[in-house]
Amino acid sequence: MADDTDKVFKALADASRRALLDDLFREPGQTLGALASRLAMTRQAVSQHLTVLEAANLISSVRQGREKLHYLNPIPIHEVHARWIAKFERPRLDALADLKSRLEGEQTDG
């Protein structure tokens, strides 16, 4: 467990890798080639960074035909948040109740 947390912080301790995660947040499901051209990095550099990010579980992927599509996986960051931040916050709205009211709001809006 400690080892997993180490991997998350080490993976995040690099500006290029953070840029990759930011770009996958903006545009989920990108191929290695798309990421390389959008971020002006070599395919080899992107590939190495993706390996580190995948080992930290910060990136998930699906295969579609011959392509591998990459996604930001925020679960480890959420666990860091839950451990160090959420416990200091006072209880607030229930997110899923909020989701329900938003969905119902949409339905009346059209």
Partner: protein, 148 residues
């Protein structure tokens, strides 16, 4: 458009069967996911996400059911269940990897309106499920603090 909108992966120190049960058992899902998931989980059956005894908040159909490895559901607000444009699809893949389970949740065919809500809600659900399965408890205020 078949490309998933989100693919979330959580590693959980438990068994595939326990993950399957946590998703499909009404009592367990209520414990860490606020509401119960209710269905007989057979292909073609409906499923509901709701407070027991109340109207459903989310409804859908079971598209694939291969316990304890894979579950695919359609997913919609009750008002939108007959509108294909408002019905999204959720797949759970549960892979036993030694003493851990890799749980992959992919959410596909979301409308732009659904995207933001799902982005905020899934990490809370999956983290809380992990805490529940690994410790028997839940994260205090798991669903707070994500509205900012």
């Amino acid at each position: 458009m078949d490309k998933p909108s989100y693919v979330y992966v959580s590693y959980i120190a438990t068994t595939a069967q326990k993950v399957w049960d946590a998703i499909t058992d009404a009592e367990q899902s209520a414990f860490y996911w606020m509401r119960s998931n209710v269905s007989d989980w057979k292909v073609g059956s409906t499923w509901e996400h709701k407070f027991l005894g109340k109207a459903a908040d989310l409804v859908g159909t079971v598209l694939e059911s291969d316990p304890p490895k894979r579950l695919v559901l359609t997913w919609a607000g009750p008002a939108h269940v007959d509108n294909p444009e408002r019905v999204s699809r959720v797949a759970f893949d549960i892979d036993q990897m030694g003493d851990k389970v890799r749980l992959t949740m992919s959410h596909t065919e979301l409308t732009p309106a659904g995207l933001k809500d799902v982005a905020a809600a899934w990490p809370a659900v999956l983290s809380n499920m992990k805490t529940y399965l690994e410790t028997g408890g839940t994260i205090p205020d798991a669903f707070g603090g994500i509205h900012d």
